[in-house]
Symmetry: C2
Subunit: 106 residues, 2 copies
DNA sequence: TATATGCGCAACTATTTGGTTTCTCAAAAT
DNA sequence: ATTTTGAGAAACCAAATAGTTGCGCATATA
């Protein structure tokens, strides 16, 4: 069973869960209220997110609060790095072009 | 059929294809040589990537060169933005803490 | 003109996925 | 002590996915 960050964020519900938990730790029931599904479905998503260590369960009495492991999110950022280099260099090229046009005019 | 950028990058082969194409436009056959699958399998991935507009086909005789639509990659970056804010603020908190410790010493 | 090549498309298969329902267990509330 | 509540686990199902093989259609090459 593949289980990595990219696979985890592929599902829109899971992305929404991550966004909610980023603001504050939440229980499965509290999360489920935000979606049009059952708690069990949310629970399954939480299991997947936990397995790839994007979130962490914290037992508190009979409730379980899930918190975001923000460090793990950086893995996505790290992968994007190689492309960021490209779009930044393209921006610079455009920038250079604009300067040249400007110089021509003046 | 769900078809968005996040779903597209969920597959490791597709991520590899994107990385290869980012360096230079490539044909399906050229790409397939890099993987342990058939051209048809790669072709299917290319279709998915094309559908969500991450890549663009450019016919050249009987060959089709696929180029990366780098702009689309920014969508992922945009989504990460909300979390970047969080990890940057946490970094600042750590930064502040370190300054305080430093001040205490001196 | 005949053949080879590059490629997308369709049909089929096995596996994975997202969801549901049902069950059990432990912690709170009555 | 009994009932309610929060939550994970298991069994099941429909849909989606990743891959395969076989096909047809162009564009090159002989």
């Amino acid at each position: 069973m593949r289980r990595d960050v990219f696979q985890a964020i592929a599902d829109p519900t899971r992305r929404a869960i991550i966004a909610l938990i980023a603001l504050q730790a939440m229980t499965p029931n509290a999360l489920a209220e935000h979606f049009d599904t059952t708690r069990q479905a949310v629970s399954k998503h939480l299991r997947i997110l936990t397995e790839c260590e994007l979130i962490k369960p914290e037992q508190q009495g009979r409730e379980i609060y899930y918190t975001l492991e923000i460090e793990k999110m950086k893995e996505i950022d790290k992968w994007l790095e190689q492309f960021r280099k490209i779009w930044e260099s393209r921006f610079n090229q455009l920038d250079n072009l604009l300067s040249k046009l400007k110089n021509k005019k003046s």
